[in-house]
Amino acid sequence: MFGCEGSHDASASTDAHVEIRIASLSPAMTSTLIDLGFESELVGRSPWCADLSKSLPVVGDFRDFDPERLLLARPTHMVLQPPLSGINPALVTFAEKQGIELIAMPLDRMQDVRAFVARAALLATDPSRAHARLTALDAMSEVDSSAPRVIVLVNADPMLVAGSANYLADLLPLVALRNAVEREGWVECSHESLGLLEPDLLLGIAEREDNVALLQRTLAAIPCKAAREGRILVVIASELLRPSTRALDAMQALKPAIEAALASGKDAAP
């Protein structure tokens, strides 16, 4: 092992000549890995990895793991987001014994996603896709302090919005918006507290079709000018709900809709 971790220099790829088999215990990482072209290398999943075939064995989640199914899946690498209370020490010992490389990385910000892509690039036989993603991630512009302010709601009950220091907030410059919420991480809040922020746009992100109406209603009930003027946009974009490289495309795809929502609101204003 002479490759230096974190570098995405193509020549540094060391694991590429051996067979790569990956077990993913994180749906977000699964999403990024599929995006980078690793779909056929994935041999184990978590219960929540919806993008993968149901026939792939469930080998564990962020806390629990199934040693026997892991043994049968014979992964060479295992990827997971470590829980705040730390990785299960039994999993660490197990991986060590079985010679499985454990790749545990937090995915709170887009820079974390970038670090994961850089790590994954080392496993790829053809790292060009990963490098393209890294370039795109690096090209993301800084927050424009004059951009319209947005509230990004991801769950209606309880009301959960993306705060600062959150991958969704990091993605907002792609659509020329900035986050109206200043508290860090994911924030649970009430209609009133969100109304006080007086955002320019209310954005709801739904996982499925059936969540749309509720998100729409919740956003419309926020006591603020944007809601009254109808500057509300609810989209179905499950990719945006996971910190992965696919979230980049998903966000960019929203650009026309967001511009329209901002404009329609202005037109509707008396």
Binding site: S46, V58, F62, D64, P67, L72, L84, T93, G185
Partner: protein, 333 residues
């Protein structure tokens, strides 16, 4: 009776063997199925530690239930119904939350076991006071108080869950479902087995005292039972066992209730046979639940063992409750 006791041993051994000989296996195309799969050199340690982990949890919870039932002379007592498990969970949640907010490791606060112990002792103390007030006559009233206490403790844990950073919430929740840890630390497993077997021996040696505790206090005292010491001992054993089980596997419900009553159905009420039979029934209950969850895949991987024991134990508890409400003797099963 001896035959029935031997039967219990046989069932426990059979279940252990079954758990050792089923598991996932891959077919020629590499697709993984579940079913009969003899252990190999690589899989035997996993299956063995799963059997030992499940069995010790059953042992601890069953004996804790029996100790609490003798302590309170109440057939509805168990770590779960008295809120002792919830108290222990709350204690563990406190330790996890403290560790998360201060950024220190849980060991800085004595580890999860200390939290569980304090929480269990606190709940048990409250239940004990309530039992004294109710003079221990109305079994259902005390069980109800325990359920309420358990609810309060769970809410406390939920409150902590709101306070801790969001990333930790799922962690706490997952813990509260009750899981037997995969590949537990061998030293923890050994410690639990030592604790469980010691408790088994102590309770078995004290079987004649437990028998006499079923009589009136004066009668038992005159027959040579030192009530304060005996009840103190049962209090400590019940609390310690429940705390140990909860800190290891989370609050696995109803084992402490189902095991002693099943043993009574099988063996009768004399503690000389009831103590070891209860231990065996506890082992049987948790082993069966663990075995069931291995094969039961609803597309999301294996279910937590606590879900299965609660699904099976809940109706059992309701049945007990309806029996004791009908006015007959609650112990007359």
């Amino acid at each position: 009776m001896k035959f029935r006791f031997a039967l219990l041993i046989a069932i426990a051994l059979l279940l252990a063997l079954a758990r050792l000989s089923v598991g996932p296996h891959a077919d020629a195309h590499g697709v993984i199925h579940f079913g009969f799969a003899l252990p190999t050199v690589t899989t035997i340690p996993f299956r063995l530690s799963a059997v030992l982990g499940a069995a010790v949890i059953g042992l601890l919870l069953a004996l804790a239930g029996l100790a609490l039932q003798a302590l309170l002379r109440n057939p509805l007592a168990s770590p779960f119904t008295l809120g002792v498990s919830s108290g222990a969970s709350f204690g563990v949640a406190c330790v996890l939350a403290l560790a998360a907010t201060t950024g220190l490791s849980t060991h800085a606060f004595g580890g999860e076991f200390t939290g569980a112990l304090f929480g269990a002792a606190f709940s048990l103390m409250l239940v004990w006071i309530l039992a004294k007030r109710a003079s221990g006559r109305d079994a259902v009233a005390l069980a109800l108080a325990g359920v309420v206490l358990g609810g309060v403790m769970s809410s406390g844990a939920m409150l902590l869950e709101q306070i801790v950073p969001r990333g930790l919430r799922g962690d706490l929740l997952a813990w509260m479902a009750g899981r037997i840890p995969e590949l537990p630390d061998p030293s923890a497993l050994v410690a639990l087995w030592i604790l469980g077997l010691l408790a088994l021996i102590v309770l078995w040696k004290a079987a004649h005292l437990l028998d006499l505790l079923m009589l009136d206090d004066d009668e038992a005292t005159a027959a040579g039972v030192r009530l304060a010491a005996t009840r103190g001992g049962l209090f400590i054993i019940g609390g310690l066992l429940a705390a140990a089980a909860v800190s290891f596997a989370g609050p696995i419900g109803f084992v402490g209730l189902v095991a002693p009553h099943t043993a009574r159905l099988f063996i009768g009420h004399r503690h000389r046979l009831l103590v070891p039979s209860t231990a065996l029934c506890g082992v049987i209950v948790v082993l069966s639940a663990d075995l069931l969850r291995q094969g039961l895949d609803v597309g999301t991987g294996r279910l937590p063992v606590g879900v299965i024991t609660a699904l099976a134990g809940g109706p059992f508890f309701l049945w007990l409750l309806s029996r004791s409400r009908r006015g007959g003797s609650e112990w007359n099963l």
